[in-house]
């Protein structure tokens, strides 16, 4: 009869603190695809296509580089028509006509002035922007020859209606950029990064659109909007790989940290193990105790990490905004994390367990308590 005194492992787990730290890296991102503007007409000519809108990544920042958010040059009339079910302008210009909705008034205002922009509600809240404000965006791609910032006039604030649109994006007029490029006052890509296409009901035009570019200098790929968002993230410096690499490095560091902790714990337990052996506890029990403690530590750490990931999911999604628009903690990830935590715990307990098992009782009891 040989029960394992798990109470001991439990007491050790709660009476000894383990500190772990995580370091986050910073990221550098670049994106450039440059399709000729006249592609828009060619794509619009495909039978299955209903509407085509330019999407040009502006890549600027507000006041400080840390104020990163998405800015896209679009064809405003087309854009707001195509995305009428995805976002709604909730604050617009004061000169709204009696028969106009806020949305209509903002679109009208946007068409009236090339400097106009409609911004997400979170963006407006974060930076204190209001309708009527002129905001300066410092360019990183579309540099002005005179080195000045771009002025944009806020004519509307929108709320997303669907998850494919976030609340931290700035929609600009593409022709504002085009005007500067054509006049030579602005440098930057003269084409368009992306075209957003609305298809006729039931149509699948990907192959037909790709065929337009078959013999061209660039071979763009036509995908669904969801796939584009994922690919967009991937293009932006292959973020998933980057995050996985950082994650792997952190796991590697944590692994050695846990091993070190368990080796220390093993050394601290030598005297205690001598007592247990003297009392008649078999080596198998001693080994189980050490491994059990290591596994509990691993699982508690992993569990805390999982809770943290779940608890911060919505906050992270809001914070990352367009940068990682599809950020989500998948159930598979949680299972994988729990399995990894278990493995780290188990492996880290092996060395100290073996050391303790090999000790003779009298030798162990001579160790300092």
């Amino acid at each position: 009869m040989s029960r394992t005194p798990w109470l001991l492992a439990r007491r050790h787990v709660v009476t000894h603190w383990i500190r772990t730290g995580l370091t986050l890296g910073s990221m550098a991102v670049s994106l450039f695809v440059d399709l000729p503007r006249d592609c828009q007409a060619k794509v619009a000519g495909v039978d299955e296509v209903a509407q085509v809108c330019k999407f040009q990544w502006f890549g600027g920042y507000y006041q400080d580089r840390s104020n990163f958010f998405g800015q896209f040059g679009v064809d405003p009339e087309l854009f707001f028509e195509m995305y009428a079910k995805d976002l709604k302008i909730v604050e617009g210009p004061a000169d709204r006509a009696p028969d106009e909705t806020v949305h209509q008034a903002s679109v009208r205002a946007m068409l009236a002035d090339r400097r106009s922009t409609v911004v997400g509600s979170r963006l407006a809240k974060d930076f204190g922007w209001k309708v009527g404000d002129t905001v300066q965006i410092i360019p990183t791609i579309f540099q002005k020859v005179d080195g000045s910032a771009w002025d944009f006039l806020v004519v509307g604030i929108y709320e997303p209606l669907r998850s494919n649109v976030d609340d931290r994006t700035m929609w600009l007029r593409y022709d504002y950029l085009q005007e500067g490029l054509d006049a030579g006052t602005v440098t930057g890509p003269r084409g368009v990064g992306t075209f957003s296409v609305n298809l006729k009901p039931g149509a699948d035009a990907a192959a037909a659109i790709d065929a337009i570019f078959e013999n061209g200098p660039q071979r763009p790929r036509t995908t669904t909007e969801a796939a584009f968002q994922a690919a967009f993230v991937s293009m932006m410096g292959n973020v998933p790989l980057f995050v996985a690499t950082i994650g792997g490095a952190v796991v590697f560091a944590v692994f050695f940290s846990v091993i070190n902790t368990m080796l220390m714990a093993g050394r601290q337990r030598v005297h205690e193990v001598g007592i247990l052996k003297a009392l008649g506890f078999a080596n198998s029990v001693i080994g189980r105790l050490m491994l059990g403690e290591a596994v509990v530590l691993g699982l508690v750490g992993g569990g805390l990490g999982i809770l943290l990931a779940i608890g911060t999911e919505s906050g992270m999604r809001a914070m990352l905004g367009t940068f990682l628009p599809n950020y989500a903690v998948q159930p598979f990830t949680l299972v994988w994390a729990a399995g990894l935590a278990l493995l780290v715990g188990l492996v880290s307990g092996i060395a100290p367990a073996l050391t303790l098992v090999r000790l003779r009782p009298t030798e162990a009891m001579r160790a300092e308590a």
Binding site: S2, P5, F281, A282, R360, M365
Partner: protein, 232 residues
């Protein structure tokens, strides 16, 4: 009895000790300790007292010779079998108490009972009984750091007797205690011997402590130099 070689305790050429009816030592000397005896072992440091105690308790194995305790030839037991034998037959009391600091007095006493076939309720009852014998039922929930040295040693004695072993091996049980606490511990060991019939082997440097025993063995440089009965 030869315990030394090249100035170090390396070899017990013969040590047969303790327990039931007799202890058998191979030549050059035999040492027998009868069932229910209270034996004190004295001698200068390094004379081999603790080595004999450890061998008798199955904590150390002699390099040669034969050790038989209560009909079991210990020198034939190894690993888990020796651990199981120890759990069943021996209770240890150490100079430094050797209680597990993260456990309460009650939990420390419960430890050896985990190695018995008793159920949880019986184990609790047995641990409470052992603590009652040493007079510490009111300190059950205290951790070792919250107890005096004398109380710690009494908890250690409760742990040693909790699983009702035949033999109690005490290695300088009063070495770290003041006179009053030492007397209390010695009185307790005497009661365990007289009232519960436990066989006790006690290593001590203290002549007063040795007087509590019924027999005193004197060792020097690994040799048994005197085997004296104490008049009660």
């Amino acid at each position: 009895m030869f315990l030394y070689e090249d100035g170090r305790v390396r070899k017990v050429a013969a040590a047969g000790l303790v327990g039931g009816e007799q202890v058998v030592l191979d030549p050059p000397a035999d040492l027998s300790i009868g069932d229910g005896e209270f034996v004190a072992m004295m001698g200068p440091s390094g004379s081999g007292k603790t080595t004999i105690l450890n061998i008798a308790g199955g904590l150390d194995e002699p390099d040669s010779g034969r050790v038989e305790v209560a009909g079991t030839e210990l020198t034939r037991l190894h690993g888990p079998a020796l651990s199981a034998w120890r759990a069943r037959h021996v209770g240890f009391v150490f100079q430094a108490f050797n209680l597990v600091p993260v456990l309460t007095a009650f939990e420390n006493v419960m430890l050896p009972l985990l190695l018995t076939p008793l159920g949880k309720a019986e184990r609790r009852k047995q641990a409470e009984f052992a603590l009652d014998i040493v007079g510490l039922t009111d300190r059950m929930k205290h951790r070792p750091s919250q107890l005096s040295g004398g109380q710690e040693q009494r908890v250690a004695i409760a742990r040693a007797i909790a699983s009702d072993p035949d033999l109690i091996l005490a290695d300088e049980p009063t070495g770290d205690l003041d006179r009053s606490s030492a007397d209390s511990v010695l009185e307790l060991l005497g009661r365990l011997n007289k009232e519960l019939g436990k066989t006790i082997m006690m290593v001590t440097h203290d002549a007063v402590a040795a007087e509590r025993a019924g027999r005193v063995l004197h060792l020097d440089k690994g040799l048994l130099v005197e085997d004296a009965r104490v008049a009660s």
